[in-house]
């Protein structure tokens, strides 16, 4: 587009700010971090505003032959652009969320978060396979330090588990990348997305990528690092982990596994569906019996991400679009829910659900926001959760009605555990003295809740703003998958693929919820 290398600039600003933060005292470090993330948010909004919907698939492309064997190649399509917007949107909120709760080594903490921002933008913007891997894997170091230094009681176990689990998955993907580069003779992602790998090779490559992405997502049964990491991480760490890092896994599915290995994807559709079904039901049931708020929300993340994988592997327009909206919606809503936990954790310093109760009396504003995000997580029409879940389930139904059936029970279970959580924390008698003494949310917390709530409602009421930039990319992927796509069991008659009226459907399906 313009001559301004906007993506490189978005990477450079937090990187410079991170180095600066290392040398600053607590207060200036907070300010620098906030300023840098806000500037990046402004740039991301500029990116969104200037994105030419229906234009070239790859926009804001930059290329510099810096590394010889691979390139500094950046560029975004609609999907990557929306995920970058999500990351930069959550980042200033994370900095604000840790404004007061982090007191030790603030400079290092802010530097780590800014590095995380660089890495997240890099993962979504990279157009070179090796550059992508470097960013993708690079996330381990800051996250390891964030969990390990500022985490809770059992932080060391959680940080090791996070690091080693994720690393083991990723190294196999690296070998697959080597094989791909050798076969195709290029490291450029856009070229590789249209390269036809031999089918038998695809199977192995798919499995290697799956090892990495499934851990990152995380999919059952390799999800066990997630509850530990979430529970131990500081509030902002959980927000970014649930909000963006999990999306790296599903982004990997959409960017790599589906367009690059369409035959293997079709071949393993049953596996993805099976694991997703188990995950939805199993983790929802596990969430139902949790006594720790953060663990509960962590398990609900696994369940939501399972709907994403199933939606992606429906191989049709609704399924993939729905999965993308679930990704964005879950990014906002789970971050908000973790912040809800953080707000009361900062006041009472416990995550035990039974220690709370009756917050509606003394924290009405908090209860309102918590209610909104609970509803969004359940998927109430009008909130972001509904649009994504409805679309993806409609897509899944087309591919496999049994999967759709099982995944839908997850939504009922989701309502059960979220409402049960809400009841135990917010309703009931306000009996405990220390809970009575808790003040309602502060202006700083308002400043975090309001944007999150606004986006959750916006995405629920007018999802077209978010879907429009991504639609073209979804169509491309669906076309790429079409030759390999197995026939679904729904046998729909003369469906109209241009589902241009999500509102109408929203109304129709409202009763199901």
């Amino acid at each position: 587009m313009s001559g301004l290398p906007i993506l490189s600039l978005m990477l450079a600003i937090p990187a410079v700010a991170a180095i600066l933060c290392l040398f600053l005292e607590a207060r200036p470090a907070r300010l620098v971090a906030l300023a840098a993330t806000l500037v990046d948010l402004a740039l991301a909004i500029a990116l969104w505003a200037n994105f030419d919907i229906g234009g070239a698939q790859w926009q804001f492309v930059e290329r510099a032959d810096l590394f010889g064997r691979f390139q500094w190649a950046l560029g975004v399509d609609g999907v990557a652009m929306m995920l970058i917007v999500l990351s930069t949107f959550l980042m200033p909120l994370c900095i604000l969320a840790s404004w007061e709760s982090i007191k030790q080594r603030v400079g290092l903490y802010m530097a780590m978060f800014l590095i995380m921002e660089v890495i997240m933008i890099g993962v979504f913007a990279a157009q070179d396979l090796l550059l992508f891997y470097i960013f993708f894997e690079g996330v381990l170091i800051p996250m390891y330090l964030i969990i390990g230094i500022w985490g809770g009681q059992n932080r060391i176990y959680a940080s090791f588990k996070f690091f080693l689990y994720t690393l083991l998955g990723s190294v196999l993907m690296l070998l697959a990348m080597i094989a791909m580069i050798r076969e195709a003779g290029t490291t450029e992602i856009p070229v590789l997305m249209n390269y036809d790998f031999p089918p038998e090779m695809q199977t192995w490559l798919w499995l290697a990528f799956f090892a990495s992405m499934a851990v990152k997502m995380p999919m059952w049964p390799v999800h066990t690092w997630l509850p530990d990491a979430h529970v131990q991480a500081p509030t902002a760490g959980s927000m970014i982990l649930a909000g963006v890092l999990l999306k790296m896994g599903s982004y990997g599915f959409l960017r790599f596994m589906m367009p690059m290995f369409p035959d293997a994807s079709a071949q393993f559709m049953w596996l993805v569906f099976a694991l997703s079904m188990v995950a939805v039901v199993y983790t929802s049931l596990v969430a139902l019996v949790q006594s720790d708020m953060k663990k509960l929300i962590a398990y609900s993340s696994v369940a939501h991400m399972a709907i994403v994988t199933a939606g992606l592997y429906a191989f049709n327009q609704q399924g993939i679009e729905g999965a993308l909206i679930v990704m964005l919606s879950h990014g906002v809503v789970s971050a908000a829910l973790f912040f809800c936990v953080g707000v009361i954790y900062d006041r009472l310093h416990t995550r035990e659900i039974s220690r709370y109760g009756g917050l509606a009396v003394n924290m009405p504003a908090y209860s309102l926001f918590f209610m909104l995000f609970t509803m969004a997580s359940i998927g109430l029409p009008g909130t972001s959760g509904f649009v994504g879940e409805f679309l993806s389930l409609a897509g899944i139904y087309e591919a496999s009605s049994w999967t759709a059936f099982v995944c839908t029970t997850g939504i009922i279970l989701g309502a059960a555990y979220m409402l049960y959580l809400y009841r135990r924390i917010v309703f009931g008698e306000l009996t405990k003295d220390d809970v009575k003494a808790m003040p309602d949310i502060t202006p700083r917390e308002w400043a975090i809740f309001v944007p999150l709530a606004a986006v959750a409602l916006w995405m629920g009421v007018y999802p077209e703003s978010f879907l429009a930039p991504m639609r073209g990319d979804v169509t491309t992927v669906v076309a790429r998958l079409a030759p390999a796509k197995p026939e679904g069991d729904a046998r729909l008659t003369a469906g109209k693929p241009e589902a241009a009226a999500p509102h109408g459907e929203a109304h129709h399906a409202g009763g199901v919820q």
Binding site: G68, L174, R182
Partner: protein
Amino acid sequence: MTGDLALIWPELILTIGGLVTLMLGAFAGDRQVGLYQFAALLTLAAAGAAVVALSGTDAAVFSGTLAVDGFGGFAKLIIYGASLICIAVAPRYFGAAMRAEYSALILFAALGMGIMASSRDLMTLYVGLELNSLASYVLASFLRGDDRSSEAGLKYFVLGALASGILLFGISLLYGFSGTTDFAGVATAMAGGIDIGLLFGIVFVISGLAFKISAVPFHMWTPDVYEGAPTPVTTFFASAPKVAAMALLTRVLIEAMGAAGPALAAWQQIIIFLALASIILGAVGAIGQKNIKRLLAYSSINNVGFMLIGLAAGTQQGVEAVLTYLLVYVVTTIGAFLFVMQLRDADGRMVESIPAYAGLSKRQPGLAAAMAVFLFSLAAIPPLFGFWPKYLVFEAAVNAGLVPLAVAGVVVSVIGAFYYIAIVKTMFFDEEAEMAIRSDGSRTEGAVITVSALWLSLVGFLFIPMLAAAAQSAASVLF
């Protein structure tokens, strides 16, 4: 003959410089540290300059026994650079015990290593190796009054002598069954088929050299010697001789045995075994080590295993990967050992126990951050540069069709990551230890640590094109 002399300037400079350093120490006295240090550093710099001046030459001198080529040049530059740093940091460490022999011995060792890296004949190979080894034995026991140092020297000597014997036996077999000690001649003999004598020769020669690179199962000396030897000497052992021995092994395997034909099949499986055994044992053995020098010894065993994966490929790409790996490994290792050298307890003694590093990031944030860079780089976590050579090595293995080896290698590398991040945990997550660790505050060491940490963090990636070109021109002379 005179023409030949003009091509071995680096060796001549090192010989003369080493003798001059020794004389300066003898006549001006060991107290004149500045004087002989200057002579030694100047010698290495001049030898390095001579290597650069000779770049582009591809000749065999002295009746084809010594090669002057890009491959040797590449290895020599790393060797001289590492030796230079090991000399520069020594006086502060040894204090009153500093003597001119230290610098002179390192110069002679560097000379021997240069010959190792450029030998084209089994006899030159042996002469270079022994010159380096003898200097090393003395260096290991340089602190005569210290029991651990003497023990390290003795252990190194006994096991080193055994390895030399094995190597010599292998050389005699190769000579006996091929009728020549010339690498090219041996290769010709091997191309005609491997009989049992040549096969035994290959096994014994590789075993002898595996001792020098401390590949499993010939690694037993490494942790003890690394722990016992004075830290600057350990730094030296972990860096320069590894380069020389690896270059020598590469040359012997590719030039004397051949990268194709029946010999490849014979040596490839030995190297694959050594590689996997080194990676696994290096990773598992390091878990539970409490002494940082012992841990770094196991880390070096582990890293040698990864280099051998590149070598096992037996292709030019594999050799390029090995050369790149060597350079990055040497920079990381030197940085890590200098970090160890910087840390002192309240009485000014070295702190080698890992639990004592608890909470170091609060007391010494800069040093702890640099060490974290080294450790993550050794664990090959991008975006640190340690990732790149590992990538190249695995790429070479995959491209040579050794996919199972590569899969085994990457999976085991995760075990290695465990103990590296365990040290990061000690430094960053744990509460501060009672004992106050302070930094030695030396500017030379600080500068080297800073530069290597920066290079390994992100700057290194910008050097990839340069490094690739250098490694390619170096490796191409062997093929």
